[in-house]
Symmetry: C2
Subunit: 314 residues, 2 copies
DNA sequence: CATAAGCATCAGCATAGACGATCATCAGTA
DNA sequence: TACTGATGATCGTCTATGCTGATGCTTATG
């Protein structure tokens, strides 16, 4: 009984196809024609099938009469046709997956990307791949994204910085730090870091962005005074408008068209925040992920063109 | 797209088994061990699989690190495991069919067998093969049974006579014709055909049994007078009891223990009615049919032992 | 830097499987 | 009765497939 089960593992799709063809066509020769074999080959295939299942499948009446299925053969035939249908069905499913028509994708992201680039990419994905299920995990403590990726919980993630070695990544765009101030506070154009460090400042809590930021200022020997910290970009802008201080923020995090604040390049500039998209090294991406990557690159390009020439920065 | 589907027809169970094993074991070598192949063989099998599906299935990180499935590979794996499960399931189903545990059987029969032998066989079948679905087609116009068999509507059928050539058959038992009369009508023991033909007779309508019967009598130059015809055996017996006449009937058609009638052998006897079970020639029987045949033979033997020594015939 | 664990590849060999030709069977037909 | 034609089985041949065993390449680890 167990032996018979493992015997069936020796079965090949080819056998089932032959069985189906012979049953449909009524004779070995016509089945052979249909499948592009010779009669001899079909005869051998059926013989081999009968050996695998250890039972006669066709009654051969001899003479010019066509073969007929034995009762066992009939059972086998219905099972075989079912199997063949499933194989085709599986082929279709795999094809839909291969072409990216269907699939699942889990993307890691953080606030400023979630608010700017990501919606554009997701929108474009939804247009062209409506049946793909995309899940987004936002986490602003950015080593969390790396951990999740390493655990295989994320297919890809937006990250800040190059992830040297530990991940494979593609550069998307650079996000410059700008000074956010009240419109009348400084003359349009660059503001020196020295002038900035004299103002009370609004910062973020300890995250990678804030670290870059403070590190950049301290690299010039300056010691900024933070009077308030929030990770909420809208709150930060509101604080600035209320005159509580100025803020150094990534350009992406600022509402660009708000007339109640003005944006200034830093003089000298501190290093841009580089935005990458990353994934586990050496892993082939799913077709959907490939598509997502393409779109992210494409839209990032458009995106940079659109956001960089902000009036205040010209 | 269509090309890919037909490509998948080249897939073999072996490939799926290998995929499953490698995915479970994590390395090609362990999978090879598990399946009794060499590492080289598994490597080639997976390569062949990747060629058939036209996609990379595993990421090979190189070095001593184990391989991991690509997203496509994961898809393929779940589909494959499903397929393997279905193959095993199919093997089980076929096995149940092969052993006669399950199956369907359609049997042709006619009145006297339906009333006597058949219930015993069906009862025994139900005891040992409770999950077999048996359907019975009774038809007393017996060429109808042959027609139905030829059309494949019946797996086997009880028949009268040997069916020379047109069917394959096994002899079950012989059913002698007996005279049915009132208890006081004749002395116990054989009654001569001449005496019988002087009595008014109750016969059947034109069917094979009646034909044998009349032919047997006429073969001795006698010309029976039928005063009433019915195919209902109970009605026939009632007519005899009512004194309307005598009847010549197959022993099987008579209620054996009815004290209100008496049974007499014929002198000389007319040829017994031979009961066979028949099926289409050259067709292998289903396991269930084989079993039914066995039982019918077995029970026929017991059956003859029990019915032949009827008191009146001793 | 050496080692070990991983997979790929190559050569060699056995065999499964396809082909082409031929044989055996048997219904239908002359 | 013999012939014909359709059918599947079988046999010899050859190719392609698939497995083994040995070797080579890659990379983490000590």
């Amino acid at each position: 009984m167990l032996m018979l089960m493992s015997n069936l593992r020796d079965l090949e799709i080819r056998h089932l196809t032959a069985l189906d063809a012979v049953a449909s066509e009524g004779t070995f020769a016509r089945a052979a024609d249909k499948l592009g074999y010779t009669q001899s080959a079909i005869s051998q295939q059926i013989a081999s099938l009968e050996k695998v299942v250890d039972a006669k499948v066709f009654d051969r009446p001899g003479g010019p009469r066509p073969v007929t299925l034995t009762p066992f053969g009939e059972q086998l035939l219905v099972a075989s046709r079912d199997m063949l249908k499933r194989v085709d069905c599986m082929a279709e499913d795999l094809n839909r997956f291969r072409t990216g028509t269907v699939g699942r994708l889990t993307i890691g992201t953080f606030q400023s990307v979630s608010a700017t680039l990501l919606p554009l990419v997701l929108g474009r994905m939804r247009d062209t791949h409506p049946d793909v299920e995309i899940r987004v995990f936002e986490n602003d403590l950015d080593d969390q994204l790396e951990v999740a990726m390493t655990r295989g919980e994320l297919d890809m993630s937006f990250v800040v910085g190059e992830m040297a070695g530990r991940f494979e990544s593609r550069h998307l765009f650079d996000d410059p730090f700008v000074l956010v101030a009240r419109p009348d506070q400084f003359a349009p154009g660059p503001v020196s870091l020295v002038d900035i460090s004299r103002e009370p400042m609004i910062g973020q809590h300890h995250n990678s962005c804030q670290i870059m930021n403070e590190t950049g200022l301290r690299a010039h020997g300056l010691d900024p005074k933070y009077v308030f910290r929030t990770n909420d970009n809208v709150a930060t802008a509101a604080m600035v408008r209320a005159g509580m201080g100025v803020a150094v923020m990534p350009l992406l995090c600022v509402e660009p068209d708000d007339p109640r604040i003005s944006l200034h390049p830093l003089d000298p500039p501190i290093p841009d925040r580089s935005i990458y998209i990353a994934w586990r090294p050496g892993r082939t991406l799913s077709p959907v992920a490939e598509r997502f990557l393409e779109l992210a690159l494409e839209i990032s390009a458009e995106f940079v063109d659109r956001t960089v020439p902000v009036p205040a920065l010209a």
